[in-house]
Amino acid sequence: MSPIADLRPAGIQACGCLTPLGDAVSTLSALLDGARALRPVPVLGSGGGDAVPLALMDSQEMGESLPPRWLPALRRLLAGVPGERWGSPRFPVVVTSSNFGVGSLYAYLGSRDPAHLRHGAPFACVEMLQREFGWGEHVHTFSHACVSAHVGLLHASRLLQSGLAERVLVFTFDFVSPFVAGGFHSLKILNSGMPAPYEARAEGSIGLGDGAAFAVLTRDPAPLRIEAQALHNEMRHFTGNQPDGSGFSVCAEAIAAAGGGRRLWVKGHGTGTLEAGRLEAEAFARALPDAPLVSWKGSLGHTLGSCGLVELALAIEALGADRSPGTVGSRGPCFTGTVALAPFPTRAYEGVVIASNAFGGAHAALLLCHA
């Protein structure tokens, strides 16, 4: 299968993120220094359990407080969004998350406090954000596991290119909760080991991290733009991928073709799992054999549905600083020789691919270039 990437360029007017290492500038700086936000934390928070690698904002605790612990962080992040009549017909908001406030539903089971239900389900959560940030009714909500942010970015680009919007605010957030950490722990992919993305070792492990980000996409000329986006779903299995890596290759080859032979680097998904990490690294090594491949989840953890936009914001900062962090947490040997372990200058490249993958066999990639 050889799909064609969606070629609807969208300018980036503004973009930012928030991680446990701070805003995009601070996070990039810390990643360049090789800092790790992940810490061993009991998988069920105050409920105890095995210590697993989690990167948590602020209090470094993940209990379900009221109001939810993610709300102050989102206020900080959204204070940096350019003013606009967000949520009006020509300036819609696209909200993406894989979790929304799902952890509060779990908290409700324990406490029976109905206040937890006000932001537990996705649409209740989005309505809370609408009220909090004064958005109008034109808020579009997407959730597709860990490619959620990519789906939102592609939807926003289509709104712009079809003339339905002037600018679109794409907003994403995922915060770790005992419910989510416990789920990954049950699957045995979140265990006591720190993640080492793309490293060929005996046991894999991921980390989970809090993350939030926004991008304002515009039809107007902008210094940076998303040139192409590719989405693909294998439709094979709930948690597994085609063993031959063909699902990874579909997106990698589509976005490589959109690159048209330009020199690119790749910010890969690279969570720290062994099989998916190998398949991803091999797919990009085939599609873009000269492109260095990095993952930052060995420091930040996997920010789940938000990772595509969180890491897009960091890639934009990396382009501005002319320096990309390497694959923090990995020492090698790696699955392919394309994996970059150390930071490198970005000016030798004409664009960067941001790639993410998700449960359900979903794959996504976008191409970010200077206009």
Binding site: S186, L187, K188, H237, T239
Partner: protein, 88 residues
């Protein structure tokens, strides 16, 4: 004489995964349980089974790689439980 732990595991697999049309004695000792078309079991079934095994035998399965290896067959699972120190 049949290994009592293997017999116990086969019963536990049928019960946990609600394999209504499979008898415990139909499960071979040395064939893969997961990923084969014969039993139609997938990773969600593996998750259910691991949770049950950890409770039933007081063992810890530390990673997905260990889980995959331990669940490669009933005989391997029995060996893993014994290697984990369970007196079965």
């Amino acid at each position: 004489m049949p290994d009592p732990l293997i017999a116990r595991l086969k019963n536990l697999i049928v019960e946990t995964l609600r394999l209504d049309d499979i008898r415990p004695e139909d499960i071979p000792d040395d064939e893969p349980l997961f990923g084969s078309t014969r039993f139609g079991l997938d990773s969600v079934d593996a998750l259910e089974l691991v949770v049950r095994l950890e409770k039933e035998f007081g063992i810890r399965i530390s990673s997905s790689e260990t889980s995959r290896e331990a669940l490669s067959s009933v005989a391997r699972l029995a060996a893993f439980i014994r290697e984990s120190g369970h007196p079965a």
